[in-house]
């Protein structure tokens, strides 16, 4: 009797649950799962436009000797290695300062620092482009206070263009990450800090021995999200420095997603090869996510 009841309940749940999620499942299958598989199939073909042939692992071989690809991969990793830690450290620091009950003007600071999040990626990139032009406000200010004696070519120079991209992304996303940390900090009971205070632990010690360990899940979450974001960087670079595959001087900032876009839509499309490059992003996203879980899980056990 119990068995029958159980299976009847199970079937009821399956029926209603299935009906409620049906549209989402169909859409996901057609617009996410099918494309992922299709992309994998495409990556074994090559050719310009509609004439394609099966090349097996030929595209993978081609990737290994493709200089633009290597440049794009390198750039993506430079953004990832420098930008993500700088931004997350800054966000954590700001969140810690803002979590202080006695802080004057807390609401103002929080709103101000969060404000960049309301801009679209395209809009803020263009704002930065205008500020970082050779005669622009940034160079003018730096010249005025004497930090530099010659204007910096923020958008064209291979090194400074990357710096500009890192600065811009940090401006846009620090407040976003800060909000996550603030929410996390509010879940830490003040009594823990009070106890540490009594034990004579300094503020710095409290930060490293209480705040960071307690925020670990949030830090993990934000670093995974930022990693995925950096690997998919497109809007900013296109609109800020314009970096594309078309000219060597613009390759300084090209990202993987941008290269895929160029391969697919800018010249005579080679979808097969572009799909192969896109799987590189899938591959690294997966690897980095697993790595971050490992790092965060290590000293918990």
């Amino acid at each position: 009797m119990k068995m029958i009841m159980k299976s009847k309940e199970f079937r009821r749940k399956l029926y209603y649950g299935g009906s409620f999620v049906l549209i989402a499942i169909i859409l996901t299958s057609v617009f996410a799962i099918y494309p992922i598989i299709n992309s994998l199939v495409l990556s074994t073909t090559s050719g310009k436009g509609v004439v394609t042939e099966f090349v097996g692992l030929g595209n993978v071989k081609r990737i290994l000797v493709d200089d633009v690809f290597k440049q794009a991969l390198k750039n993506t990793f430079i953004y990832f290695v420098f930008q993500v830690p700088i931004m997350l450290t800054l966000a954590l620091l700001l969140a810690t300062l803002l979590n202080d009950r006695k802080l004057i003007g807390k609401g103002f600071y929080r709103t101000a620092i969060f404000l960049p999040c309301v801009t679209s990626l395209v809009a803020y990139s263009i704002l930065f482009k205008s500020m970082f032009s050779v005669d622009g406000i940034v160079n003018q200010t730096l010249l005025f206070i004497g930090l530099i004696d010659q204007p910096i070519s923020w958008l064209r120079d291979a090194f400074w263009a990357k710096v500009t991209v890192v600065l811009a992304i940090t401006w846009r996303w620090t407040g976003y990450n800060m909000i996550f940390y603030l929410a996390g900090l509010q879940n830490i009971s003040p009594s823990i800090y009070e106890a540490a205070e009594i034990d004579g632990a300094s503020k710095v010690k409290q930060f490293f021995y209480i705040t960071i360990p307690m925020l670990k899940p949030v830090i993990l979450f934000t670093s995974i999200m930022s990693t995925i974001g950096t690997l998919q960087l497109f809007d900013e670079v296109v609109n800020l420095t314009g970096g594309g595959a078309s000219s060597p001087s613009l390759q300084a900032t090209i990202t993987l997603t941008q290269y895929i876009y160029d391969l697919s839509f800018k010249y005579v499309p080679n979808f097969g090869y572009a799909a192969t490059v896109s799987y590189v992003i899938v591959f690294f996203t997966a690897i980095l996510a697993v790595m971050q879980f490992r790092v965060a899980g290590d000293d918990r056990g």
Binding site: L14, V21, S39, F128, G175, I228, S264, A286
Partner: protein, 271 residues
């Protein structure tokens, strides 16, 4: 002791003030820039000018502003309404009727969240080209309607939906779908507000996918138009600033009016 404290405060407030200044400055720059000519902006002029009306008129000559605004609104509002409906139905379904099979399906769904859009865009483009749906606004919104993050967001929030309400409604003879529309939706207004803001912003600001599938000038969005204005050899920055203000205004207004929901939507994922 007191000296140390004063120094600490100077550092603390100094740091916060710099951070706040850097965060706000580009907004001020945008507003000041809208009143200046392109040449002045390129030279770093940081005081108000007299070009605002001129810039606005020029913008209207360069692009079809009402049409672009309408296209963006259509995509953002249409996309938001459909996404909220589909995602909340699914999030509710996964949580309320959870069973062994649905949990597995949900796991796969969450996994697709990790897949970068770059890996989907080529097959998607070919699919829409094959179906003759390039250059259509429906094509812009359809692929992201069942966004896994949204489903996740609704499922997490459904955990706070009181089961007693559901049981009471069943006793009253409401069908399962009636319970959803008559009890769940009104109860979860705050969740819908938070998700709606996030959804609207995502559609309003989307760039890469519209760039790929919208080809004719008549179908383009405001974001696409701004991007192409700025890629000119000599960008008309004053004019572009006016366009950016118009494109940023809706999200800025929503942010200030509904700040609580706005932040809740972004935080939704770590509840």
């Amino acid at each position: 002791m007191i000296v140390a404290k004063v120094f600490k405060n100077i550092f603390k407030y100094g740091f916060l003030n710099i951070a706040a200044f850097v965060s706000i400055f580009p907004f001020a720059w945008m507003i000041i820039g809208a009143t200046n000519s392109a040449t002045d902006i390129m030279k770093g002029k940081y005081t108000f000018g007299t070009e605002l009306i001129g810039n606005f008129q020029k913008l209207n000559e360069m692009i079809d502003l009402p049409l672009l605004f309408w296209n963006s609104t259509k995509i953002a509002v249409g996309g938001m309404v459909l996404q909220l409906l589909i995602a909340s139905l699914a999030g509710y379904g996964f949580e309320i009727y959870r069973n062994k099979i649905s949990e597995k399906v949900y796991g796969i769904l969450l996994l697709t969240m990790m897949v970068p859009f770059a890996a989907l865009m080529i097959p998607l483009f070919r699919m829409f080209a094959g179906a003759g749906m390039l250059d259509s606004h429906v094509g812009v919104i359809i692929p992201t309607l069942a966004m896994p993050f949204m489903i996740f967001f609704f499922r997490q929030n459904t955990k706070t939906f009181p089961n007693d309400l559901m049981y009471a409604a069943r006793v009253d003879g409401l069908s399962e779908i009636q319970i959803f529309f008559r009890i769940y939706v009104p109860t979860m207004k705050a969740t819908y507000a938070a998700a709606g803001i996030l959804s609207f912003m995502t559609f309003w600001n989307s760039y890469l996918w519209p760039l790929i599938i919208l080809q004719s000038e008549r179908q383009k969005t405001l974001t696409l138009a701004i991007s192409s204005l700025s890629s000119a050899y000599f960008p008309e920055y004053g004019v572009i600033m006016v366009a950016i203000i118009i494109a940023t205004a809706p999200t800025l207004i929503v942010f200030f009016l509904l700040q609580k929901h706005f932040v809740a939507g972004m935080l939704g994922s770590i509840k």
